[in-house]
């Protein structure tokens, strides 16, 4: 490394009206502010600019001399046009998803960590693309449960002679800035990359993500630049599961910042189980010129969708889960929407419990995996038309949307869609501490009880015949929340039936 230290404003104006400019703060901004009216400033600017001897580079017509232009790289040798920097040169070989899909008997009754299945996918990806795919990770992949990738590769340690230069495709460094920079540089060579991180730590590189999003926007406006592989982020260890790290680690701001960039370039996915996680990561890895964020979890989650259903659900971006609906979702009184992992599970639990406790209240259940399809700007290939939006969310029924992150993100996407005072978005409202996962949901009013209570309150407004049963159920739920709170404070953990688990174990009559 060579460190070169120069005076501030070096080779610029030396002094002006007796004041030192070069090497002084005065050389910042505009060192000579009024050359048109001040002769000394005019002369200083002339001397400065003439020192570059631009004239030597120009011909008699003040155009750049031909001999200089001839030194430019031509055609495919031009920077950004070289075919060796295009993904065409490094076609991605796709793992066979069918062999990785998790099999199960009944929706919601088998548990598995989505990132663990993702790790198996990555191991296959490395095998099939041994020199054109890299993982840049600021934290232990083990901690994110993506460590199955080590079935087929190594960490690329540099400090350990034994391990160095063995071709490991996983580069770990505890610097998100480095990971981002490396991912940008690597994908710009036409190769493929992934950056897994704790949710909150991606915040650190928000401005780098923004600047790169500006770059791909502009690059896409040229007619000579080829598309490059996307930037791919996986967020695990999200805000809902920070029972050890607490409030400082409860922060989903990265997704909000992505949504302010050009919508056609941005994708934010909330796969609700391991199989949808598989289809999501596969789509992201092979996409071009996008910023992809996958919000996953390393914790065990129930599997909801088999292979073909997961594929169809991912491709649509959202869908009705009939097995959680009253009469498969026909003519609902309320639409309950899940988006995320823990927040979707709470929505599932709410629909499941309401079906048993209050079958007269007709529920439709919707899961949203790709929030950009909700966007009113309609820049997404699968953006919902207003007709499709009404088909899924109805035209006038209350909608209770339990979202992974800040409700503001859904508010801004849905704004202008229709009469919005029937849509209630629950999510993270900056109530945090080191506590159990269920207590976090209660504190942020995003638990199954909040969903059920709100559903009953909103539906009974237009169906007074259900009001009496509704209010006694709300009383019952209030008592349960109180009892659970006492249990949590006493035992320091959640009652089992409130933890993310099998759907068949959501109701514990004996608790």
């Amino acid at each position: 490394m060579i460190v070169m230290r120069t005076p501030k404003g070096w080779t610029g104006i030396k002094t002006l009206h007796g004041k030192t400019i070069e090497g002084n703060y005065l050389s910042h901004d505009i060192p000579a502010k009024d050359p048109f009216n001040d002769e000394e400033q005019f002369q200083a600017v002339c001397t400065w600019l003439e020192s570059y001897k631009i004239g030597e580079l120009l011909d008699e017509n003040d155009a750049i001399k031909k001999e200089l232009i001839d030194t430019y790289p031509k055609g495919d040798r031009a920077m950004g046009r070289n075919p060796r920097t295009s993904p065409d040169a490094y076609k991605l070989n796709h793992p066979d998803l069918a062999s990785l899909v998790v099999q199960f008997d009944k929706s919601g009754d088998k548990l598995i960590s989505p990132t663990e299945v993702g790790g198996l996918y990555l191991a296959e990806l490395v095998k099939l693309n041994p020199s054109t795919f890299r993982v840049f990770s600021p934290d232990e992949l083990e901690s994110n449960k993506l460590d199955k990738v080590f079935n087929s590769t190594y960490r690329n340690f540099q400090w350990n002679e034994e391990m160095a230069n063995r071709g490991g495709r996983v580069t770990e460094i505890l610097s998100e800035h480095n990971c981002q920079g490396w991912m940008q540089g690597y994908t710009l060579t036409g190769r493929y990359a992934l950056f897994p991180s704790y949710e909150t730590f991606l915040g650190i590189i928000t401005t780098m993500m923004i600047q790169y999003a500006k770059f791909i926007k502009l690059a896409g406006e040229t007619n000579w630049r080829k598309k490059e592989p996307s930037l791919n982020y996986i967020q695990t260890s999200t805000l809902w599961r920070q029972e050890h790290n607490g409030y400082s680690h409860q922060d989903p701001m990265f997704s909000n910042n992505m949504v302010n960039m050009k919508h056609e370039l941005m994708r934010i996915f909330y796969p609700p189980d391991a199989n949808t996680f598989l289809y999501t990561i596969s789509d992201c890895m092979s996409s071009l010129n996008r910023d992809n964020l996958i919000v996953g979890t390393k914790k065990e989650m129930p599997i909801f969708l088999n292979g073909p259903d997961a594929k169809a659900h991912f491709e649509a971006g959202l869908g009705v889960w009939k097995w959680l609906c009253t009469d498969d979702g026909a003519t609902p009184d309320v639409v309950i929407v899940g988006c995320g992992n823990e927040t979707n599970f709470e929505a599932v639990a709410a629909a499941h419990v309401l079906k048993q406790d209050f079958p007269e209240l007709r529920v439709r259940f919707v899961n949203v995996i790709d929030i950009m399809v909700l966007d009113s700007q309609r820049k997404h290939p699968n953006s919902l038309t207003i007709e499709k939006y009404h088909e899924i969310f109805t035209e006038d029924k209350p909608v209770i949307f339990n979202f992974h992150g800040y409700p503001s993100l859904i508010h801004q996407l849905l704004f202008g869609k229709n009469h919005d005072n029937r849509v209630h978005v629950l999510g993270y409202i900056e109530e945090g501490t080191t506590t159990t996962p269920f207590d976090m949901l209660v504190r942020n009013k995003a638990s199954r009880y909040d969903i059920m209570t709100l559903a009953i309150e909103k539906v009974t407004k237009s169906k007074p015949e259900l009001a009496s049963k509704g209010s006694s159920l709300i009383e019952k739920y209030r008592a349960e929340v109180k009892k659970h709170g006492e249990y949590i404070r006493k035992h320091g953990k959640d009652p089992k039936h409130l933890s993310t688990g099998k759907v068949s174990e959501i109701v514990d009559k004996d608790f």
Copy 2:
């Protein structure tokens, strides 16, 4: 400075099942994952935890020994309770705003830079609070036109013996992280601080702002902590005036991130002229336990409000500007809203031109200075009730909101207020480059022409009798935009009547 380098996981578990733990990546996260079922892990954890000799600190009841508790600082000596760290000890002396207010004859016809007036206020503030107020600045105050503060203080240079330790209250360093850290530390001693910055550069310290917002939220929940002076940011050189720096410097994301924090602690102000800027900065400087962001401009802007009106407008957070309305704003067809500097000026221009071109189309003009009053969460002391919201924005007329930043910010604040598909938010939609200020507005569809065209389109839907005149005006405006574009490309600058200037010069019939 002492640099101490220790092995990772130092003093923890040395080895486990033959693997090195201390000094290895395995000491991160949970080094022994299953001590309940694995005897070697259990022993390793015991040896590790016993090494802290906790028993020596406990009495026979496993409580902390009294002799240790007696060493705690008591009462006012406890950290965070010391009266010398409270603003009570350093009461802010307020400059007399009446003497700083800019006088003028007619609204919109005198030009002055808001930050220049702000600089005069800061000079007074330093004079009255010579040892309890500091400015931390990453960029030249001169570049932000706040340099009038040097009327009464100095830069606190450290590298220059002549200038060092002269008590200068302005600390400049080209590191936003440093400025943020210094401001946090200084205000936590009960003293007052200000951090002026280019708009885009505040993005760099977003996660620091977020962590501090979490801290003041939690600090406010204790019953023993006193309130501390607020963090105060001034953004100048905003995205609309980056004609030299371009797209990389066009980024209002900091404000969006503030709004996801607890609303009661956050304030974001868009003072539209120098006098409102004065009242805004004065309120921010004397506030406690808040994060205040003032979005200003260093460029010359027309003055709209005299002293008393500016004070009342600031306190209400928004208001109708009758002189720009048809019949003082009675029974409008459309509500035009300005928020920001350049974007407010465009809204002013749109209302002004429509009144002349299309007097049958009844306009009400509203300026919003404090966007948090729009917030549906109603955590702001002046939050609009739904009745007040309807009084200002009507219940059913189209509203065209020309906003300084991303429209998403207004979308999320207004969500759920009422039928939102009548509200059209214009603003920065990530279209940027190095170009003239007016061309920036055109590219982002936030110019006076966009406002006027949208107003005509929306109003004529329900007033077909105005449709014919409306469409010929839209044709005329389209032709003007085209002509202006040609002028801008030819001359590299905006036509004078399109630049921010006197309202009386907005219309140039001869152009």
